[in-house]
Symmetry: C2
Subunit: 161 residues, 2 copies
């Protein structure tokens, strides 16, 4: 009540005060961009008979070494319920190997195979190209900044969850 009705826009003063709140809301920008990004990536990877989960798991294995399914789950953010299927697909293609852990019979130890490594290199290149398209309008410096901002936000929200 202290404030006047913003009214229906007829060009009165202070046009900048309420410009398109929709376009400004970070949450909305995020989810829309994420949708498009996902589609871009999925389509790109589909042409190589891969999904983004495949990449996530292979990269995790390469970077952090072998691990149990639960470990991979935590590293990649894929739910362990869904990890089963992903690993099945990867194992079918002989990109990973699933072997029982001798020290703990509950676990499987997942290792990346030589083919898996080759595959990962291939996917890395594909993803490089796709990200080039994804980030096309940004300069190299801006891309770094963007990634850095995203990282900080994500870190914050994973710590506090």
């Amino acid at each position: 009540m202290t404030r006047a009705e913003p009214a229906d826009v007829p060009g009165d003063g202070a046009p900048k005060t309420t410009p398109d709140r929709l376009r400004r809301r970070a949450s909305r920008l995020l989810s829309q961009l994420s949708t498009r990004s996902d589609r871009l990536i999925n389509e790109g990877l589909a042409q190589a008979d891969a999904r983004k989960w495949h990449y996530a798991v292979l990269a995790s294995l390469q970077d952090h070494g072998p691990g149990s399914q639960a470990t991979l789950s935590r590293r990649t953010g894929i739910y362990r319920s869904d990890m089963v299927g992903v690993l099945n697909e990867l194992a079918e293609r002989h990109l990973v190997e699933r072997a029982p852990d001798p020290d703990d019979q509950r676990r499987n130890i997942i290792t990346i195979s030589p083919q898996g490594r080759r595959r990962l290199r291939r996917l890395d290149k594909i993803l490089d190209d796709l990200h080039d398209e994804l980030l096309a309008p940004l300069s190299p410096a801006e891309r770094d900044q963007f990634v850095q901002l995203l990282t900080r936000l994500l870190d914050y929200h994973t710590r506090t969850s």
Copy 2:
């Protein structure tokens, strides 16, 4: 380009030599952050018996004036198939009014009601708070930059689709 093969990293040391390509991929950062953002926003809005679609439609009506369902669909990015349900929910709550367009009998003209306006103000406040939490780790300047980068990316990808 130093193309150092990261190799398998035996031992459990998890050294920093291979700075996690996963964490660097913008697509991954985007989709993970978007997931958390969505959850944050949805939970926040749910406590006010609202969904983000409600906000999108109400804000669009307030900022751009009344319109047909198809128009709203284009403005908000909601598919016209899904728009039906959203408008039903909004109409149930008397936040919008759906009236046949006298000039074109195919269309409905959707208008925001006074209650809808009040609602929108309320949701705007809620969203302000939620975004404060979402962007917590960023300084005001960084937040602007973040939004600006997102906007440019999204614009680019909507133009080229």
